[in-house]
């Protein structure tokens, strides 16, 4: 799943470790999410969204198309 976590983190001049500490996860986890190699759990996605004052949809973009 694509996301803009790296850009949001860069706006605040936070390192991956800083963001990981704020969210209670490791630097490796932040790196994996930013590289779209790992999709966070719903609780972690909510924590990320709250930390940046955004909605989950603002940060994460599910490129799968919903078929009616």
């Amino acid at each position: 799943m694509k996301n803009c976590l790296k850009a949001l983190r860069a706006e605040r001049k936070w390192s991956q470790s800083d963001l990981g500490d704020s969210l209670g996860v490791s630097r490796q986890t932040i790196n994996a999410i930013e590289a779209s190699r790992y999709d966070p759990s719903l609780p972690l996605a909510f924590k990320i969204a709250r930390l940046f004052g955004r909605t989950i949809e603002d940060i994460f973009d599910d490129d799968a198309q919903i078929q009616d």
């Binding site: 996860v25 490791s26 490796q28 986890t29 790196n31 994996a32 590289a35 790992y38 966070p40 972690l44």
Partner: protein
């Protein structure tokens, strides 16, 4: 908890447990071969490596609960690979024993096979995910 602290807590239990397992297994085997032990005493001594196995798995369980969700996923994948390796070896060799009279494989070796496969798989998955 940081992954570094969780790893330190893990190895603090796991390494002594594996050493106790290896030493206990060798010691009890030597004692059975070289001393006239009663059945009850043999069973009692065998509890040493058995308890060591329990503590090794408990340490791994605690470690998996103390790291975050992404690192836990890598551990779970490695553990599944280890279990699959044991099942393939055990079932495969069992089939060979049943159908082709292959020499008997002691089940003692299943645990070392599990830890080697689990460790190797976790290292590969960690490298692939740029964990180190």
């Amino acid at each position: 908890m940081s992954p570094e602290l969780a790893t330190k807590r893990y190895f603090t239990i796991f390494i002594p447990a594996i050493c106790a397992y290896a030493a206990g297994s060798a010691g009890v085997t030597w004692a059975v071969d070289n001393a006239d032990l009663s059945t009850g005493l043999t069973y009692s001594l065998a509890l040493v490596p058995i308890l060591a196995i329990f503590f090794a798995f408990w340490a791994h369980w605690r470690f998996a609960n103390e790291i975050d969700e992404f690192l836990r996923l890598i551990q779970i994948k490695g553990t599944l690979f280890g279990i699959a390796s044991v099942m393939v070896v055990a079932s495969g060799w069992g089939t060979l024993e049943m159908l082709a009279d292959a020499p008997r494989l002691p089940v003692f070796w299943l645990l070392p096979i599990f830890w080697v496969a689990q460790s190797a798989a976790t290292a590969v998955f960690s490298k692939r995910e740029s964990v180190f």
